[in-house]
Amino acid sequence: MALTSTAVDLATVLAGVALPNPVLTASGCAAAGRELAPYLDPAELGAVVTKSVMLRARSGRATPRMAETPSGMLNSIGLQGPGIEAFLADDLPWLAARGARAVVSIAGGSVAEFAELAGRLAGAPGLALIEANISCPNVASRGQVFACDPAAAADVVAAVTAAADVPVLAKLSPDVTDIVSIARACVAAGAAGLSMVNTLLGMVIDTDSLRPVLAGITGGLSGPAIRPVAVRCVWQVHQALPEVPILGMGGIRSGRDALQFLLAGASAVSVGTAVFHDPSAPARVLRELRADLARLGFTRVSGVVGLAHRDGGR
């Protein structure tokens, strides 16, 4: 690799889709991009990953829906959203009009729902990829999460892939004994890539009310606190399946954090909770990543993907 700091080409290919750069938003942490417009230009990001949308409008859970934790937070939103109809009418066109690429996250309570959502998205403007959020409860198996069972995960991925006209990313949960086995199942079922990781299940108890803080009792842990777990998941899956594209996420707050995920094997990254701390975080992370790559003498993002596995280290 060149040792002189030259211009860095940030173009990335994620699951067969060309992106101008490897920094995306994370589902549920950027809505559908519009609210971030005062702080960054959505079109300048690799893509905007939208909040998981379901078939019907959903109210989400009762409040409190969040609790701050050391270097992290818990959330228990319950996938509040307008439903696919309104999403296609209002949200996607807005992104398309601004020249932003959309990775649309979908969630369902059944394989059929997932499939129908993927079908509804076919031909939608600006749609670059579908991210199947399989970290949600499977009504058929009494609320067991799809992502925690290789077979259930594979069923969803197969159905979504069949119905979709763009490549599909399967979004994995870290709350499993063997994430590689889930990854294998999703890839075998047709996933073009994997998004990792979703939140860790956690809870906080209020020591004054003596009750759980969240109305939903448990919630998803995110933020820098979980970064080491997320990097480990990406590392393990890239080691087992080096050819499988990965969208890495979990506690990314700086360019160096993003670089850790690329070095572990991710082709691109999502910046999630950091947006709550700094609404311009995705744009800043991109700037910092460019500077870090230049400092290290890399001219291409592909040069660092998975590098920590090889002895390219210094």
Binding site: P38, P64, M73, P279
Partner: protein, 282 residues
């Protein structure tokens, strides 16, 4: 009104009864702010374990000097850090955020009701209402005298000032709603504005409704992002179409029409809220 994110210098950190008055140099925010809006501040410094911003209603916004003022009550770790921040500290500020109080199209008498630091937005609101030519009647309440903010300033912005404290350490002992109905009648107020704890807002909403005049209230819900992307700050609100929805208090609020908020259902998931039936396993 579009918000921005700025590095603001803390130019003042002064005691104000039980609170601290923080003054920041943030021209972009000062130039865009209106009463009822808020700012979100990052807390704890670069190595802080406190990930989320803290929200504070704007007390002052001076476009000429580029200064904004907020009133901070020490509550937990974040505000503990903030009230001790030395003058000169650079603070990461996002704002102005949320929807402000709406001013009447024609001048009319208004009653402004505030609990504790909830009075922060009321002074600028009062000035603007009087500039429009309407009389302003201010009701300030708190647990005790030190938790009344802005008493000295009150007479400058209001034609009448009523003070209530739970312990009687200032003004009459009692709640801000004691005699509120009479005040509304006597002053022929056409509009009520309120800011303070949820329980107080609900009581003010009831009195206003009983008097048959509209009330605008600024609510305070726990917020993770403050900018409308996370969906943590919702409460059940009735829309123009009569449908109830879980609405973001940071983006559609913090100011709501009191008669639209489903006070008794805040913190619950009413079955008739849009999309409640879809919740099932999730």
């Amino acid at each position: 009104m579009t918000p921005s994110q700025v590095d603001a210098r803390l130019v003042g950190n002064d005691p104000a009864g039980a609170y601290r008055l923080l003054t920041l140099h943030a021209p972009a925010v000062a130039g865009a702010a209106e009463p009822g809006q808020f700012v979100a501040l990052a807390v704890g410094g670069p190595d802080s374990a406190l990930l989320l911003r803290r929200s504070f209603a704007l007390y002052t916004a001076d476009p000429d000097q580029g200064l904004i003022g907020i009133v901070v009550a020490e509550h937990g770790a974040g505000t503990a850090w903030l009230v001790r921040a030395p003058v000169g500290t650079t603070l990461d500020v996002v704002g102005p955020l949320g929807r402000p109080f709406r001013l009447p199209s024609a001048p009319c008498p208004a009653v402004l009701v505030a609990g504790g630091y909830g009075s922060a937005p009321m002074f600028e609101l009062g000035r603007r209402l009087r500039a429009l030519g309407g009389a302003v009647h201010l009701v300030l309440g708190a647990a005790a005298a030190p938790r009344l903010f802005g008493l000295a300033e009150a007479t400058d912005v209001a034609d009448s000032v009523t003070v209530r404290t739970d312990d009687g350490s200032a003004g009459r002992r009692g709640l801000v709603t004691d005699g509120l109905g009479e005040l509304i009648e006597r002053t022929r107020a056409r509009q009520v504005y309120a800011c303070g704890p949820m329980a107080m807002l609900q009581a003010v909403a009831e009195v206003s409704a009983a008097c048959g005049i509209p009330a605008q209230v600024a609510v305070e819900e726990s917020m993770a992002c403050g900018i409308g992307v996370c969906m943590t700050c919702v409460l059940p609100v009735v829309g123009a179409d009569g449908r109830s929805r879980m609405v973001r208090s940071c983006a559609e609020g913090p100011v709501f029409d009191a008669d639209r908020v489903r006070w008794k259902d805040v913190g619950t998931l009413p079955a008739d809220v849009l999309g409640a039936e879809a919740m099932g396993w999730h």
